[in-house]
Symmetry: C2
């Protein structure tokens, strides 16, 4: 691989990550040199140590720590796995490699054979499944305070963006308003993107790729000065980080458009708060200011309590509404327990859903005419502040 | 929606499609005017009427036709569904709309109420599930000879591309060599893309997005003069059409890189021959010249018959190989029946697979070092012609 193909921003990212690794693991080396039992202290990634910070509106890891030491029957394997993975990542950083988490699993997977002093033979695998090695990568993320993206670990990405803005990535200047009918596929390391100039008033994130394609095709983003993004379902990390940066660094409000069902609410929740199992990352990936623009239950049924009129006629409701499944209802009850769904507006949403047992897809709105979605529904809701936070 | 946002290429595509619709359905109108029982003749989309054309190496619809008439108890509903869908698509074309197949399902879904002369009331839904309306869209595709993309029907798209080439789409000139670490997400109507200039010697299609990200990051495409594409799993129609056009119009050889398992072989098969249930589209979407570059069973195990040496050591095989599941083995037996898998090389692949009951992911190769995949494995196999057709 010729030197010239190595990107400068990547080089600097590697240097930063390598330095953190050296700092962090020097302690362990020194413990060994001093003849002590080497150990690592890391924040506990358990549900009980996951805390919703009301002020910052974020899921964060709490103060509980875990001590993982080498001479401890219960912890020795985990300790060695952590050091093995750290070594593999360190070497990849040094060698200008770009592993995926699947790679890291393969690279570390091997069998250790050893004999007891008495001669009995033992075999032990470093790890058997990717679930195990992924957990170790997460440990290294909390241990170093680096996201895996900052260690130049790549992954598949689904997010796409168009809009009137220019960015720099990998040495290229990319004009996101000149993508034709296609779009810009967001890179796996969105922290290395430089925002150059932006002519937009808000960010619209659409859950469904097909609806993104439709809005893009009629240049919704140009007419309404929006940065248009799709997560193509559950958002991946890069899309979340990219959206967060647009909100935080450029001060753009973020609106999320999903199907009207608990699955859509959960997508919104992941963008806004983070996922519960990966709360340590939400400090960097979540967008606490994100707003749920719809489709809301009150858009479908109206709301006698507030006097809001529905966007759908009785006839349209009959044709478009889908009956909720048991899994939807179960998920709605789960979401009710989340602190950030305990606002009056969200309680009302869930209440209507559980009452009507009905859900609706965004496509039902485009079926009323794409112009309805683009020229009436979205602009009207944004203008009148008809979103949920 | 301002007139200025409507793309010229789209306008012309609409004009072409509207003309075909007018031509095709004028007959039905004239039948009705003449007081006849109106009918449609369309090619049968059945397995028995799906033929593998050995010369062109394509799955095609055979000569069997189907007569669908209005005054026929068994056909009346299908006849009306076809005309309803044709009307909806026609109107969308006229109104500069961009429906998705999900939209079309919603737009046509309603209940028809009628009373028998005796007074008995009947209710009948136009269609209940998208499966039904999708089948009607396919009927209209074979009836008009237009792909749904040519009717400006949009859909979600996963395909991405980078490489040293310029294209024109929706009035923009896009340089696919200036995408930074991101990529160009292929548009849903790839026939409207204009190829401007190309500096490439072949097309490399990678099944897995994460491996695409890795090869892109080290600028494999620049060093090896390749157009690099990922289908992100099973290829969608747009990716298939885009690859076909690169092969047909630019004369670029196409290499497909998948996991070494029957699922990967099937992805290759869809690119090359088309899918069996949608054979009518393969004439436009399939790339009969596509080559399977790997990962092949002989790459993993070598081949004593031909003297080929394996790319993996005994130790690497032990660490990387995954045991085949029953579903893999079942699929391998299915693929054995496909005519295009009955060449000596493919028979050998399937034979080794069934003997070893082993599969391997592409990531196992990147775990040997990304440079191994990029600097040795791929270039060597392409140079020595070590692919399967």
């Amino acid at each position: 691989m010729a030197e010239s193909y190595i990107d400068q921003a990547d080089k600097e990212a590697r240097k930063r990550a390598l330095e953190v690794f050296r700092q962090r693991f020097r302690e362990v080396l020194e413990q060994i040199r001093r003849g002590e039992n080497p150990f690592l202290m890391l924040p506990k990634r358990t549900l009980s140590n996951t805390i919703y910070d009301e002020r910052r509106k974020l899921l964060l890891l709490g103060p509980e720590k875990l001590k993982r030491s080498f001479f401890d029957l219960h912890e020795a394997k985990k300790f060695m796995q952590t050091l093995l993975m750290a070594r593999i990542i360190f070497e990849a950083l040094e060698r200008d490699e770009y592993p995926t988490i699947r790679d890291l699993y393969y690279r570390g997977k091997h069998t250790i054979v050893y004999r007891e002093p008495g001669g009995r033979r033992h075999e032990e695998n470093t790890w058997d499944e990717q679930r195990e090695s992924d957990a170790v990568i997460r440990d290294i993320e909390v241990l170093t305070g680096l996201l895996r993206e900052e260690m130049l670990i790549l992954s598949k990405e689904k997010g796409k963006v168009v809009g009137d803005m220019r960015i720099r990535s990998g040495g290229d200047v990319i004009d996101l308003s000149k993508m034709g009918h296609g779009a810009y596929a967001i890179e796996p390391t969105p922290d290395l993107i430089e925002f150059l100039d932006v002519n937009a008033e808000y960010v619209l994130v659409v859950e469904k790729d097909a609806v993104f394609q439709q809005l893009h095709r009629i240049k919704y983003w140009r007419q309404h000065k929006a940065i248009l993004i799709t997560s193509a379902g559950q958002p991946d990390r890069a899309t979340r980080r990219f959206v967060r940066r647009l909100n935080e660094e450029l001060g753009l409000p973020v609106y999320i458009l999903t199907d009207a069902d608990p699955y859509g609410w959960y997508i919104y929740s992941v963008f806004k708060i983070g996922s519960i199992t990966l709360s340590y990352e939400s400090e960097r990936l979540a967008t606490p200011q994100a707003r749920f623009i719809g489709v809301s239950m009150t858009d479908i049924f109206g709301d006698p309590k507030s006097g809001k009129k529905p966007y759908l006629t009785e006839q349209e409701r009959r044709n478009y509404i889908i009956k909720a499944k048991d899994a939807d209802i179960k998920r709605a009850y789960e979401l009710m327990n989340y602190l950030w769904f305990q606002t009056p507006k969200w309680k009302r949403e869930i209440e209507i859903f559980l009452d009507k047992k009905a859900k609706l897809e965004i496509e039902a709105l485009t079926s009323k005419g794409l112009r309805f979605l683009a020229d009436k529904y979205l602009p009207e809701k944004i203008e009148t502040g008809d979103w949920i936070e």
